[in-house]
């Protein structure tokens, strides 16, 4: 039985590692300026984790194979070096690993969070509510109209609770169900939650950030590839959570302007 355990374990370990080694399951191609750092970090970690995973499993299998169900009274030995060796090795190897990862991780993280958005970044406000995203562009005056929760009227497509009757600034605001952005231009996305916690996640963009009610958060990013990508909610927000999604539409600058005009006419 001990030998069988060893064999089964080896098979399991190799089978588990195979899809990773063959890159059968990987994140989609990165379309952001900051994403490559995260991807490098991910693959480094994958290498180290994979090494320790296979190492530990195979050693376990080998020892069980060799040292299980030996004949009665077989000579018992202790591992040369004993506990001290184990502890020192663990400290040195893992400690170094942890330190390296910690530092690298800091770099990748800093790219996303410690650099403020450029002043010329395009400001877009996004609102997450049960169970859809809506996006608001400031319009010609470059100002967002104020939000009045009591004015929200979804049946009338007033998702943000604007008050055009009294608030001039809100009249030219452009509200859209898709997030259209120009390529290679930094976007400063202001995040507002209408009801409960939600999250903004675009896999290709390597951006995930929660919407926290009552907390005005923001993220900034630059998309480098034209195309249509899925925005999904990753924070459990209620029964429609699975279906809470929108599209990120990365366009060429002039297409974007056309789109903006078109939308403005619909408001």
């Amino acid at each position: 039985m001990g030998k069988m355990f060893a064999i089964v374990l080896v098979i399991i370990a190799l089978a588990s590692a195979y899809p990773i080694a063959r890159h059968m399951y990987v994140p989609p191609e990165d379309i952001s300026t900051h994403g490559h750092a995260i991807d490098d970090q991910l693959s480094d970690t994958m290498a180290e984790a994979g090494f320790s995973f296979l190492g530990a499993q195979l050693v376990l299998a080998f020892f069980v194979w060799k040292f299980s169900e030996r004949k009665e009274g077989a000579k018992l030995k202790n591992f040369p070096g004993g506990a001290k060796l184990m502890v020192t090795v663990a400290f040195i190897i893992v400690g170094a690993e942890v330190f390296a990862l910690g530092v690298l991780g800091q770099k990748a993280w800093a790219n996303v969070y410690f650099t403020p958005p450029r002043p010329d970044a395009l400001q877009i406000q996004s609102q997450a509510g049960q169970f859809a995203f809506y996006f608001r562009y400031p319009g010609l005056d470059g100002k967002f109209g104020a939000i009045h929760p009591d004015k929200i009227d979804e049946g009338n497509q007033n998702f943000f609770g604007l008050d055009p009757a009294n608030d001039i600034e809100s009249r030219d605001d452009i509200v859209s169900g898709e997030l259209a952005i120009p390529v290679n231009r930094e976007i400063h996305l202001l995040m507002h939650a209408k009801d409960v916690g939600h999250s903004f996640y675009v896999r290709e963009l390597r951006i995930q950030q929660d919407y926290v009610p009552g907390l005005d958060l923001s993220v900034h990013f630059t998309a480098t590839k034209i195309g249509r990508y899925e925005i999904v909610c990753t924070q459990l927000c209620g029964l429609g959570h699975y279906n809470m999604k929108a599209y990120l539409n990365v366009m060429a600058q002039d297409d974007f302007e056309k789109w903006l005009k078109q939308k403005a006419s619909e408001q």
Binding site: G129, Q130, F131, A132, D153, E154, G155, N156, Q157, F159, D163, P164, A165, S176, G177, E178, G238, L239, G240, N243, M244, K245, A246, Y247, E266, Q267
Partner: protein, 236 residues
Amino acid sequence: MRIKHIYLAGVAILAAATMTSAVPGGGTVSGKITYEGTPAKQKPIDMSKEPSCAKQYSTPATTETVVTGPNNALENVVVYISAGAPDDPAPSQAAVFTQKGCRYTPHVLAFQVNQQLEVVNDDQTSHNIHPLPKVNREWNKSQPPGTPPIVDKYDKPEFIPVKCNVHPWMHGTFAVLKNSHYSISAEGGDFKLPNLPPGKYTVTAWHESYGEQTQEVTIAGSETKSVNFVFKAKPY
């Protein structure tokens, strides 16, 4: 069975439009609902998050909070006898509220107190039906495709906003009325309340954005009184 539901829905709408009470050959109140001013622009609905619905529209569907017709006709106005008529027993056939292409048909569904209500999902996606009553009992249920219709009834008269929690743009209204004398202004804004026994009535017209108006009318014999309502429309 889906076909049957659509059919039922048709019947129900028809019935709702020309509901007749127990007094044949009575008087009739008829008229036209119009608006003055500029009504709010009906915006296109972005259904991209629900492809199975989006692909049902060549041009994007628009909101239905203010549906207008030629020469200022105003549709989806519920006209009913709010006073003067006795309460009627609920009719036997069910009022059917269908979810199709991620919209509610009809947008405004009128039916009677204790009349059976059937909510049907004709879409390939899960819907959630959440009526928001103030005096009646509240419920909030989801309806995956291929599940039996949700059956319910309301025991107090009320105008109940209905929303779908999964698709924020889906909004409709249940008009729960206590007698059978009601009509919903159709294309051209016309309505007709036939078979009214002689008497003095209060006619009320209700619109989801513009509120309600009332007029007194007295019916003697089998005459036809014409009553018109004009709503003030605001751009915002």
